[in-house]
Symmetry: C2
Subunit: 369 residues, 2 copies
């Protein structure tokens, strides 16, 4: 099955993800039917071009995509498997183990079910936020079970490819452990850190720099959605949080020892080492996150440039970077409250640094060497 040969697809749940699936499939010429407990959600999804409302006399879909909230996903998948006895059914819930376990316990025909999880999302939700490119280049986990039939796995894999995503095969438990580590635990950590700021003096917050902003950015996420995700993946999230608490306990104890001492010489043996070890282990962990291009960790060097806070300044800088023939691998802006200039940090391949610095200096930019 390829894009051109997809049979009719039924999308059940027409929020952000479901409507985005429909939008992209429609662009490929696929017959997409929409179904949702909310008639408004179906109408909105239709209006943005994600497909047409499902009708009682529709012929059978070959593929059903369930994009329901995580806590009802298993029920909806079981119902759709029963309603459409020839169709392959997938879901896009962000936790996979409990869906599979519930379906297995219910005796659902698992040969036609393949769970999946596109690693894509937006800060906005609902069908009106849908876009056909939502999945472009994102990993799409295919969490096939032992019972999954080969043709079912292939259908879901090709769905991912047709949507522009990169399929990644992983069983449900491995998936849940992975997203616990790279997404769910970071969410809890960012939220707990940000929660500490509720009681902080406003004058203190005026000293906040880019570090605090980065650590807490995802703390702005939706509480209801995250409660559902964390509860559904508690088995994988809890051990990681418990291990983190163990490390935190060690740091707190070491700080207590430092606090009681009169200078570094009198700090009890091991306390300073405990703190240094915690930071050094963080160095090791962050170094393992793959770079932009995936696979092997790429190391970039950074060039920091002062950019006036005025329209067009950053565009001029990046035009100059382009004219210098240097490919920009990453870019971030740093600014503290009230600064008249921003610092723009450009990541480039190590070999390009000297050339870029010379070119930018020649064009009048002030580098923070």
């Amino acid at each position: 099955m390829t894009a051109a040969t997809h049979g009719p697809v039924l999308v059940v749940g027409t929020g952000l993800l479901g409507a985005s699936v429909g939008l992209r499939l429609r662009a490929l010429g696929v017959d997409v039917r929409l179904q949702d407990p909310s008639r408004t959600a179906v109408a909105l999804a239709r209006d943005v071009g994600a497909g047409r409302p499902a009708a009682p006399d529709d012929d059978e879909p070959t593929l059903v995509v369930v994009a329901a909230p995580p806590d009802v996903t298993a029920d909806v998948v079981a119902r759709e498997l029963a309603r459409h006895p020839e169709a392959v059914v997938t879901d896009v819930a962000s936790v996979k183990g409990h869906v599979l376990a519930e379906l297995r316990a219910a005796g659902a025909p698992l040969d036609r079910y393949v769970g999946s999880h596109p690693m894509a999302g937006r800060e906005r939700s609902g069908p009106s936020a849908a876009v056909p490119d939502l999945f472009l280049g994102r990993p799409w986990v295919i969490a096939q079970a032992q019972e999954s039939a080969a043709h079912a796995v292939l259908a879901v894999r090709e769905l991912a490819v047709d949507l522009g995503a990169v399929p990644v095969t992983m069983d449900a438990d491995a998936h849940d452990a992975a997203v616990a580590a790279v997404s769910h635990v970071p969410q809890v950590v960012a939220s707990l850190m940000a929660a500490r700021l509720v009681d902080v003096d406003e004058s203190a917050l005026g000293l906040a720099g880019q570090g605090l902003r980065d650590v807490t950015r995802i703390a702005a996420s939706d509480a209801e959605l995250w409660t559902s995700i964390l509860a559904a993946n508690s088995a994988a999230v809890r051990p990681l949080l418990t291990a983190l608490r163990g490390d935190l306990d060690a740091v707190i104890d070491a700080l207590a020892a430092a606090d009681a001492a009169q200078g570094p010489e009198t700090v009890g043996a091991g306390a300073l080492v405990t703190i240094a070890h915690a930071i050094a282990r963080g160095n090791d962990g962050v170094a393992r996150i793959p770079g932009k291009h995936g696979g092997v960790q790429r190391t970039y060097d950074e060039v920091a440039v002062l950019v006036p806070d005025e329209p067009g300044a950053l565009a001029r800088l990046l035009t100059d970077v382009g004219e210098a023939g240097v490919n920009l691998e990453d870019l971030r802006l740093e600014h503290a409250a009230g600064r008249p200039v921003g610092m723009t940090i450009i990541s480039v391949l190590p070999g390009a640094v000297a050339h870029l610095e010379a070119e930018l200096t020649a064009r009048g930019w002030r580098l923070v060497a």
Copy 2:
């Protein structure tokens, strides 16, 4: 005293901060002398233009800037106060309470001492990383004591202004509480989160998105420096970490309840509420961080644009933003491993969104609405 009337300044400790102070003061025509236990550090600082090595027959400095590691700062300040009985002495250590307490205990002449802390730094260290603009637009905390003489406070305040920084007055304890909340605790949290990644499967790390990268970015910081900072500020850091541990305990307990239950209906009363409350409190905390322009929290709207991963593409986008007459308030790039395009998220004032979206669409950009 203004830039033009600064008397001779002695910089003690010629690492990144000390040499950057010297560089900027030299540019203002000030006579800067350099002193450091490392003769190499003095020579390097001289070579980058930060001043000249102090000599035994120098006339008296009017201002001494101590830029030594935090654990030796009090000793060095006390020594310099004694050596230069007419000079004002300041330091730039990132923790202020213990320096003041040690000086007070030693009976140092506190009328001529005013602690300070520029909120500036770089990932690189040492005199060779020094730049005159390091402090430009950054908050510079003036942590004056009750004993500080008015002329001494004024001298340090004008130093900050001459270096391009924004002076912020705060007593030593308030400073230490502030940096614990906005810098030291976030560092510990980021490091502990990143440390959890050491044991994670490489395939799991391939699913990492921008959220994980943001939460852990500062975990790449120097372990030795941070051990010294955290130990010196343990009194302010520990209560915050202990409070965070309390919140973490509650989340872990709630997850245990969710884990033991068979679906949301059977989760014990309060467990889901605890999780939702933790995330919602994080929402409240992150909303308190001041925006780019400081003072009142500014709310920006975001426009997300797909940008091909090719040289010059981002520059073209920003040129188009500029030509649309829209001021870019912030910008960030999001990319996951292996994506052929990046998503660029542009923050603008809410009133500018519709116009910008129309202009960019007309110029052929694909928006992720």
